[in-house]
Symmetry: C2
Subunit: 324 residues, 2 copies
Amino acid sequence: MLDFEKAQQIVNSELESYSFPGFPAELYDPVRYILSLEGKRVRSALALMACSIFSDAVHQAVKPALAFEVFHNFTLLHDDIMDNSPIRRGEQTVHEKWNPNTAILSGDVMSILSYRILSESEDEHIRDLIEVFTTTALQVCEGQQLDINFESRTNVSVDEYLKMVELKTAVLVAASLKAGAITGGAGPLESDLLYEFGRNLGIAFQIRDDYLDVFGDSKAFGKKIGNDILANKKTFLLIGALEQTEGKVHDELEGWLIKQDFDPDEKIKRVTEIFKNIGFDRISSDLASSYYEKALQYLERINVPSERKLPLAGFAKNLMERDQ
Amino acid sequence: MLDFEKAQQIVNSELESYSFPGFPAELYDPVRYILSLEGKRVRSALALMACSIFSDAVHQAVKPALAFEVFHNFTLLHDDIMDNSPIRRGEQTVHEKWNPNTAILSGDVMSILSYRILSESEDEHIRDLIEVFTTTALQVCEGQQLDINFESRTNVSVDEYLKMVELKTAVLVAASLKAGAITGGAGPLESDLLYEFGRNLGIAFQIRDDYLDVFGDSKAFGKKIGNDILANKKTFLLIGALEQTEGKVHDELEGWLIKQDFDPDEKIKRVTEIFKNIGFDRISSDLASSYYEKALQYLERINVPSERKLPLAGFAKNLMERDQ
């Protein structure tokens, strides 16, 4: 059995020792750079933990785990170009440190490298691994596209938002777990149950992340409160509030979205009050909990001695209880 | 047996009937768009022709053929962003018709789609196909990076140039042939011979393309003569001439590269004269022929009745004799 910290360590050490190509340096230096930034290695660590539920031969899951990690970092690299973000994990993004063309091409090569690493997995699982990996990779692109679409739309529904979160974030977590389970020898039912655990946990995480950005304790949350409000980010709270309000309250909320000159603290204060007044602090917190509970139910149904599931249950609990 | 035109037809009809995903439209419309532009389908047609050397069941090569075609179009899509090209195959490029972010993300999804299509190949060949596909895809990115590097360098050697051409252009042609051969049941020796045929033919093609841009018949060549000279493009001719000249001639050539105000016709005329005076019309023409001859030697060594190789030999001959 493997807890999250131990799994992270394995991932970091395997990433460090993996022999990425070196020439041309202009192509592969950015790959090494983004992989060297301090990431939490959530997807890859979960793949190893999923494998360890079914087998003690965790090394079988290393290649799929690294493939998911490299793919995830590829999506960050290209997302950062699209969002024009200067900082990632406290350091310069690749397109800032080098330039956008370098970031495009290095991202392209990372996407292919993730298949190279995945294809180094053991023969008996290769077809299933490629199937879940490819399906998920397409979904992640679809989720990113939906997210981009939402930026220029004012009528996004909560259902659409949840679908976007599922595609952009949750399925990659889910698929990493499933891939780990497959290499650990889990059958289709067991690996699908872990997939559903991950999918629901991923959605719960994102709703809670939206919640914490408004209602969290800034010290514990580790970033400034209200950033999403200032950026007019289409979070669960904003989309839900726009959907659920009408009349004066709706108009005030929309007013804050288009206002150019404002006192940031006042905007955060007033929008937070609107969310609270219509009960969206509780509603979003409850929704996150309900996805979390669903995730745990899927985990429970997996037919192995329950102590083998403790590390994953513990990881999920920590994830949901941060900032408390 | 399958000639190039028939192979093209199969590719186009299979591409049209392939069920690409549709949602979100903003993601997949550009994919359909670039694939609908009139391409020559060289790589995919060659995959089918390679299969037909060894087997009459050409349908076995359809999935790998489409995978290579989709991957090639993905590279065009991203290359066009990097080169800031407005036109591709006579139509607007994706980043012009939509925007750069759309072009990045649609390209990303095409890269993954090419693996999706490849993984629909028959089980017995899947591992070999993924191996040759992935190795080649990485090399194509490396070739593109070398090409980018060359733009800002003044001391590129002919050897470096040939390596770049091999990676950026020739290996994808070679790998398409090899993949087709694999699905046709060719053994490792036979499929490697076809790979070498394609690799040498690809290099021959590029050197000849550089030659025709300067010394071709503009009507037959189908584009204006001298474009590469005006754009200071690092072709075989320019790189070779910079390497082979010294003193006054070298200085004059370098002068044309940095000159901002000039009469285009005069620049084309003078640079062409320099190439001719140092014998580079003949040298480049001879070098293309020598790669072509090498390609044919590899084709000859393939152990099947020689009439089965006629379509590929005919394709190569046409390729080398265009504009004559």
